[in-house]
């Protein structure tokens, strides 16, 4: 077990070196979240009204945080597919190291990048008037939940990269997956106005649950009243859903890694 940790950290070190070598990647991880906060929070916020009378800036921030976490899917998937096509996965698989550590190294470092994105967004959010009202602990808990979500989605991305194999297919597919996840949720809009069936889907979207949980922890108001289970108990719901997803994605991705072969 301790070897898995040492190996994973060695591989996290590899990823961090990549960032150092390609600062443009870090710029992407910084500019995109900032742009989201400015566009959705500031520009749209000037025209939006949220039921319950609170400010849209307060309402939207949890949604933006979560939406940016979604991009981890493609970050990880593209990275894994890249390692696959240039033979690095073969090299690692031919070494006597556990297959979990290779994927864990990747997902941990991508989760670390999530932390960075969250920090940047929190600062810009503060600038446009977003505040957390529930104290330091609950605020940190919300960020921890967001990073856990990033970590979970990173495992999903790893699975996607290993299954789709070519980096080109991966980037095309991940945007197709991310779009409905992001917009069929309560991230940007209150769900009250949606038709019943659509609303049910959106309420059970894990992203909605995480967003609701963060709103509660930030004290930003959930903006909606709903009797759906995940909406009523967003914090345990989010932890449960993410745990369930991890329990599915980790074994699936490990299995895919064991059989992984580059696209021919």
């Amino acid at each position: 077990m301790s070897e898995v940790i040492t190996d994973s950290f060695a591989l996290v070190g590899r990823q961090m070196r990549h960032i150092k070598r390609m600062p443009e990647q870090l710029i992407g991880l910084t500019i995109l979240p900032v742009a989201f906060v400015v566009v959705f929070g500031y520009l749209f916020g000037s025209a939006m009204k949220v039921p319950g009378g609170q400010s849209y800036q307060e309402y939207i921030m949890a949604g933006i945080f979560a939406q940016v976490m979604l991009s981890t899917i493609s970050t990880t998937a593209v990275g894994v597919a890249g390692d696959l096509s240039n033979g690095i996965v073969d090299r690692f698989r031919s070494l006597p190291i556990s297959r979990t550590s290779v994927l864990l190294g990747r997902t941990m470092s991508d989760a670390t990048l999530c932390t960075w994105s969250c920090a940047v967004m929190a600062v810009v959010g503060y600038g446009i008037g977003w505040r957390a009202h529930e104290g330091v602990l609950k605020t940190l808990a919300a960020f921890a939940l967001l990073v856990l979500m990033g970590f979970t989605l990173s495992w999903f991305g790893a699975l996607l990269g290993l299954v789709l194999r070519s980096p080109e297919t991966v980037s095309a597919m991940s945007s197709i997956i991310v779009m409905p996840l992001a917009f069929l949720s309560n991230a940007f809009i209150p769900l009250d106005g949606l038709p019943y069936w659509l609303r049910t889907i959106a309420e059970w979207n894990p992203l909605s649950t995480v967003v609701s949980a963060c709103r509660e922890l930030f004290g930003n108001g959930t903006g909606a009243t709903s009797d759906a289970l995940p909406a009523q108990y967003p914090i345990p719901g989010a932890i449960l859903l993410l745990g369930l997803m991890l329990a599915i994605f980790i074994p699936l991705a490990s299995r895919a890694y064991q059989k992984a072969a580059a696209a021919r």
Binding site: E3, T6, D7, A10, L11, G13, R14, R17, H18, R21, M22, N86, G87, I88, D90, R91, F92, R93, S94, L95, P96, I97, S101, A261
Partner: protein
Amino acid sequence: MTEPAVSAEGLSKKYGDFQALQDVNLSVPAGTVLGLLGPNGAGKTTTVRILATLLTPDAGQATVAGQDVLRKPAEVRKRIGLTGQYAAVDARLTGRENIELIGVLLHLGRKAAKVRAAELLEQFELTDAADKLAKNYSGGMRRRLDLAASLVSRPPVLFLDEPTTGLDLTSRMTLWRMVKEQVDSGVTVLLTTQYLEEADQLANRVAVIDKGRLIAEGTPDELKRRVGGDRLEVSVTDTSDLAVVTTALASLSAEQPTVDQDSRTASIALSGGIKAIASISAELEAAGVEPLDFAVRRSSMDDVFLALTGHSSAASDDGDPQQQDLNANEKEAQSV
């Protein structure tokens, strides 16, 4: 004597309908080099991937360094080095970081990993470029780094999958020298290649694979002998002299000399060594024929390949398609 370092029995693998490998048997004695020779898609990489525990065969069994590939893959991984078809190096790390990372993953400890990296970089003549990013390396340097990365744990068995494909001659020769150094230090090597010359240079024994089946095995010399050994080839300026040459050559063997009117060249299998060459030379001089070219041509591995598979190796793209057809016909005629 001792058991072979690599042995495989009845390996088969299908991808959908495509039979990538069918009933392949291999044996590589410890400390020797087996060259697995074949064109693209012949099943070379599939074989290596199975032996390196990356792929499960549909049928068959294999042992590497005394360990069962299917039952004890983790033990096999401790004893092998793999250099794949692409130089599997991380382009965004330096050469040194690449090797150190492998060392750390092999649990050498950071300090020992650093020492081992410096040692390997020196050995593979990469010390000057050690702290440059691998993406700025030339093709040959990447391959060397890749080879170095596969040797961090000093594995007794090394798999090289087309180690020099795409390299220029100088880089290839450097890499060959480095592989030979490994063999000299006792490492067993299984090497796949489409370059006949590479098999000839490096391998003690060659197994020829085509369409997933092994079609021949032997030392490079044995295989060459099988397709006819050395030939004496004489070409002349005037067509009229060709008849004289042909008659002279015919005296060397019961076989009729092969005559090519277009290039005014006649050739025959050489059995009498230097004396035969001298007698032909004297005969031509007496007849007043001044040859344009007078040469002993050793049959190359290319000839071996053509004769065995009926098509040229994929790597030698200067092969005359007409000649390939001819050989295909010959093969058919033989098999009838």
